[in-house]
């Protein structure tokens, strides 16, 4: 890497009239035969829901193919673009309507890439919401197998009785979500516990 990246800054409190858009949370229509709801709540270090967070998801389709099609901001109702954006509601809850992603590699367990922005959060955070899968599939996954066993559950979406996928995010606390950093993407947290 030759150049030093521009730093990030918080999304602040007033993104609500600028970043969310109609249809942002619906990667497919609810009537799609394979439509699934991916939803959850964002919590702060006191376990209180965060009412001013924004989430983005980015994922392959059910066959593991990555869309190269534009149209995420003005969906045509037919094209799966793989990307969506949703603000949480006043109770810190977000919801997407999407497809369950396929795997992108022989060892890779299927997951949805999740990005979190919030007032009070100085820079975006990445995490992965893995689909509930066979234990052998999860154990083989290069990332999951590198995460300490006691924290692995924070990366797993759970299947609700209504068929939806539940994925909560905890900035801190006993169930603090495993947030990710990548080789060429430096991020400085400041002092950690």
């Amino acid at each position: 890497m030759k150049l030093t990246p521009t730093p990030g800054q918080t999304v602040g409190p007033f993104f609500g009239y600028a970043l969310p858009y109609a249809g942002g949370e619906a990667l497919v229509d609810r009537s799609h035969p394979s439509a699934v709801r991916l939803h959850g709540t964002v919590y702060d270090g006191d376990g209180v829901p965060v009412p001013d967070a924004l989430l983005e998801i980015w994922q392959p389709d059910e066959h593991g193919a990555i869309s190269r099609q534009p149209g995420s901001l003005h969906r045509d109702g037919y094209t799966f673009t793989g990307w969506g954006r949703a603000a949480v509601d006043g109770a810190g809850h977000y919801s997407f309507t999407t497809l369950e992603p396929g795997s992108t590699g022989p060892e890779v367990a299927p997951y949805v890439l999740v990005t979190i922005f919030a007032r009070g959060l100085m820079d975006r955070l990445f995490t992965r919401a893995y689909l509930p899968s066979e234990p052998a599939t999860l154990e083989r996954d290069p990332l999951l197998s590198s995460v300490p066993a006691e924290r692995r559950h924070t990366l797993l979406a759970s299947r609700e009785s209504d068929g939806s996928l539940r994925f909560d995010i905890h900035f801190q606390g006993e169930d603090e979500t495993v947030f990710l950093t990548y080789p060429n993407t430096p991020q400085f947290t400041g002092p950690v516990d």
Partner: protein, 265 residues
């Protein structure tokens, strides 16, 4: 940290107390640098002078991940997503917005110096009185019926972007008593890899509030902070029309190998 008041509406601390906290963190960083610690090129997630960060930063180190295919790609945006008119924030209503008309322009490149072409750039900002068109902004400054303060564009083949807008004013917030934000424009950017995704803020040169603003100061390194400050560029100013600012944005390096980059061509 439990003794600190994390209520964003409390506004109990003075500016002097916040300044002291910022100075202590920066002094510690400089001492660590002198002892050989690496440069901090990003904002700190755990930055107590920004009170809202106390309960919203991860307390554990970020987990190192090798990017998979999805992280090495980004969503595609095109002209069905963004209209050419969306980059001019002064023509979205029937009349001219109040304030200093400016053009903010620059290039989006990645850490390897490659232009980020055809990607989405979003921005939003307060108006010339420091007020957002957001229902929860309670600052008693006037709304401008001719200014919404939201723009979008796609970068050109050389990574270039340009917005025509109004210079935003500083505005008060509730971090501490008499707290003011430096004037800024929020920016949201995508790269060729999703790992390059960034939301940030652009500032204006010489802002007297810089030293007092814990969000700006959450970047402990002066050279890194400077990367968020646009420069006045008279070649962007236009005769009897607008003043001009230039701000280039460098995304982090692509995590793809060179061969993977070439496949996109």
């Amino acid at each position: 940290m439990a003794e600190k008041n994390t209520d964003p509406d409390a506004a109990v601390l003075s500016q002097a107390e916040i300044d002291t906290e910022i100075a202590a963190i920066h002094a510690e960083y400089r001492a660590q640098r002198d002892a050989g610690a690496p440069v901090e090129t990003n904002a700190r997630l755990n930055f107590p002078p920004y009170r809202s960060s106390l309960l919203r930063h991860p307390t554990k180190s970020l987990h190192h991940a090798d990017p998979e295919d999805i992280e090495l790609h980004s969503p595609a945006f095109g002209h069905r997503d963004v209209s050419a008119l969306e980059s001019d924030l002064t023509i979205q209503h029937n009349g001219e917005p109040i304030g200093e008309r400016i053009i903010v322009t620059g290039r989006v490149i990645d850490g390897d110096g490659r232009a980020v072409a055809g990607q989405l750039v979003e921005m939003w900002q307060a108006n010339a009185a420091g007020r957002y068109m957001h229902k929860r902004d309670q600052h008693p400054a006037p709304l401008d019926p001719n200014f919404t303060g939201v723009g979008r564009t796609l970068t050109g083949p050389d990574g270039e972007y340009s917005f025509t807008t109004i210079k935003p004013a500083p505005y008060p917030w509730k971090n501490h008593n008499n707290a003011w934000r430096s004037a800024h424009i929020h920016f949201s950017l995508f790269g060729t890899d999703f790992t390059q995704r960034i939301v940030t803020q652009m500032y204006f040169p010489g802002d007297p509030i810089f030293a007092l603003d814990p969000i700006y100061q959450s970047i402990t390194d002066q050279a890194a902070r400077d990367r968020l400050v646009a420069t006045y560029d008279h070649s962007v100013s236009q005769h009897e029309w607008n003043t001009g600012y230039r701000w280039d944005i460098v995304l982090s390096g692509s995590n793809r190998t060179w061969a993977e980059q070439e496949e996109e061509h």
